[in-house]
């Protein structure tokens, strides 16, 4: 498997804090007066190598949070530190965006060029890297997302899943330590969603930190840690088993546990012997012995 190599090797240590969000408040002015508070006093630490899932309804502030992580948005109050660099300093944005890369929701609106190969080269070219370095990175990134065969294709002819993988490759070419996926599977069909999740799983296994913003509970089951946002605040923070173990609290937030866990809970209530809290199909079958 092609490894990407993390260039920002200063302090890359699994388990150490990579991104720190410190008591951040973000408010948007609204036409007609007043304001809309997207995030209120939110604090969060993303540790190197983890798979963090941020869940919430539309309006919970999750997309705002995603944009804070690479300095696209600056908080009104509080600070965001990426590998120790404060996102308030515009001069540091170039370095920050080589640590944290963001993949957005609409595959179409991330692709800039008329050829896949050129679009993936966009990032490295922006960094002014030498031509051979650019080519190496493009090849590495395309391989990492299984899109080597799409190299010379025109992006607008690709399927949603393929486009989104190309978008991920474009971000990977920057060699980030952390990838943020801002609802990156929301506009894809089930096949596309599977393709993207497979790529993300592989990347995380290879040491890349993943922050996945989503509203699909079944995707959250794959994460190391889940943070639930509600109305601009953190409502829950913990491992999937902890979070999904408390169905009542989730229901109160208009959320629910993944379907597999629902079956387990109901079956247990009826008296069927289900051990533990299975979150995937495989776990459930095993839990039923």
């Amino acid at each position: 498997m092609a490894t990407l190599g993390h260039d920002q090797s200063g302090g890359a240590r699994l388990g150490a804090p990579l991104v720190e969000v410190r008591k951040v408040t973000v408010a948007y002015p609204v036409p007609g007066g007043g304001g809309n508070v997207a995030l209120s006093e939110v604090s969060l630490t993303v540790t190197e190598g983890e798979w963090l899932c941020v869940i919430g309804h539309n309006g919970s502030g999750k997309s705002t949070l995603a944009k804070l992580l690479n300095g696209l948005l600056i908080p009104g109050r509080g600070d965001v530190l990426v590998a120790g660099l404060n996102t308030r300093e515009t001069a540091l944005h170039r370095a920050i965006r080589q640590v944290v890369g963001v993949v957005f929701q609409d595959p179409e609106d991330q692709i800039v060029a008329t050829l896949v190969e050129e679009d993936v080269a966009f990032g490295p070219e922006n960094l002014g890297l030498a031509r051979d370095e650019v080519l190496t990175r493009v090849q590495g990134a395309l391989d990492a997302v299984d899109a080597g065969a799409l190299r010379l294709r025109a992006p607008h002819q690709l399927s949603g899943g393929q486009k989104q993988r190309v978008a991920i490759a474009g971000v990977l070419a920057m060699r980030p330590r952390c990838i943020v996926l801002d609802e990156s599977t929301a506009m894809l069909d089930p096949e596309g969603r599977r393709e993207v999740l497979d790529v993300v799983t592989r990347l995380q296994a290879g040491g890349t930190t993943v922050v996945q913003v989503t509203h699909f509970m079944s995707e959250a089951a794959l994460a190391d840690r889940i943070v639930v946002l509600s109305e601009g605040r953190i409502a829950l923070d913990g491992a999937p088993r902890e979070i999904f173990g408390d169905r009542e609290r989730l229901r109160a937030l208009d959320l629910d546990v993944p379907p597999v866990a629902q079956v387990a809970e109901r079956a247990r209530a009826l008296g069927v012997g289900v051990r533990g809290l299975p979150l995937t199909v495989g776990e459930f079958v095993a839990a039923l012995r």
Binding site: V30, P31, H57, N58, G59, S159, G160, A186, M187, D189, P190, E191, R193, R194, H215, M217, S218, D254, L255, D256, P258, P259, V260, Q262, V263, R266, A267, A269, L270, G271, V272, G273, V281, G282, F284, V285, L288
Partner: protein, 289 residues
């Protein structure tokens, strides 16, 4: 049995017919809808489902084969497609993108005004349509369209089609991009439209969870052809075939299937978590007894 309102026989349709880029989109699809149905047309991207459905309100004409809607033959040049669109309402994917009037009430009123309804009638239709999608008439009619949330805008777009008071409502990927709350709300509205307003409803989707929740009969398309059709339970029990067609399988169906393969005698035609849990309980008590 209820009357047949849509009859599609051996339908063929090509994209860009007559140009060097001509490709076949639909090759011999057949399907049938009866008054009062709550049906789903499923297939992954490229199966031809969107093309088929655009024939139902006359946007496309059959190139070969026949399409009869409410007794009208769409192969006949003289059939007035515009008139047909009063009876067949087609809601496209991401319909909020089609909103154009800055005032919610006026945007919804566009359809009735195009039909030359007198002002009283326009008002009545707008009010009814808004209520059906859960947007209070007085609360929303003067709101600024582009200031609403995504979910609200989608409901405005749906209301815009409902204001035509169609007898057949076709929705293409109705829940695409909605969070769990918005999704539940929209599905509830659709169910009510079917149950209370007596509309025949067709959902076009690749999201099998939506189909499982809503539909009673299912048509499955692949490669421009009809490959499966029947009641929703029997279709969903055929997990292996569905997987081969690259359709996402609801976790519950997949779980039932895997449990059966592991030796547990549970029914595989379950649609909800509760049903599967009960099937497991029935299985465990019957084994014990």
């Amino acid at each position: 049995m209820n009357e047949i309102i849509v009859e599609v026989k051996d339908l063929w349709h090509w994209y860009l017919r007559g140009t060097p880029l001509e490709t076949v989109a639909v090759q011999g699809v057949g399907l049938e809808l009866r008054s009062g149905d709550l049906a789903a047309i499923m297939g992954h991207t490229g199966s031809g489902k969107s093309t088929v459905v655009q024939h139902l309100n006359g946007l496309l004409r059959p190139h070969r084969g026949s399409v009869r809607v409410f007794g009208q033959d769409l192969g006949d040049r003289r059939t007035d497609a515009r008139a047909l669109r009063r009876m067949v309402g087609l809601v496209f994917q991401l319909p909020e993108q089609q909103l154009f009037d800055p005032t919610v009430g006026d945007d919804i009123a566009f359809g009735p005004r195009q039909l030359r309804c007198p002002p009283e009638e326009v008002r009545r239709r707008v009010r009814t349509a808004m209520e059906r999608v859960g947007l209070g008439f007085d609360a929303y009619k003067d709101r600024y369209t582009f200031g609403l949330s995504g979910g609200e805008m989608r409901r405005v777009a749906l209301a815009g089609v409902l204001a035509l008071e169609p007898r057949l409502l076709v929705l293409d990927e109705p829940t695409a991009g909605l969070d769990p709350r918005g999704r539940a709300q929209l599905l509830g509205s659709i169910r009510a439209l079917h149950a209370e307003a007596g509309m025949t409803v067709v959902i076009v989707s690749h999201d099998m969870d939506v189909v499982a929740e809503l539909a009673r009969t299912v048509w499955v398309l692949a490669g421009g052809r009809t490959v499966m059709h029947g009641g929703v339970r029997e279709i969903f029990a055929r997990v292996d075939e569905l997987r081969e067609l690259r359709l996402g399988i609801p976790q519950v169906s997949e779980l039932a299937h895997e449990l059966r393969r592991a030796g547990h005698q549970v029914r595989t035609d379950v649609l909800t978590a509760n049903e599967l849990a009960e099937a497991l309980w029935t299985n465990s008590t019957s084994r014990a007894g």
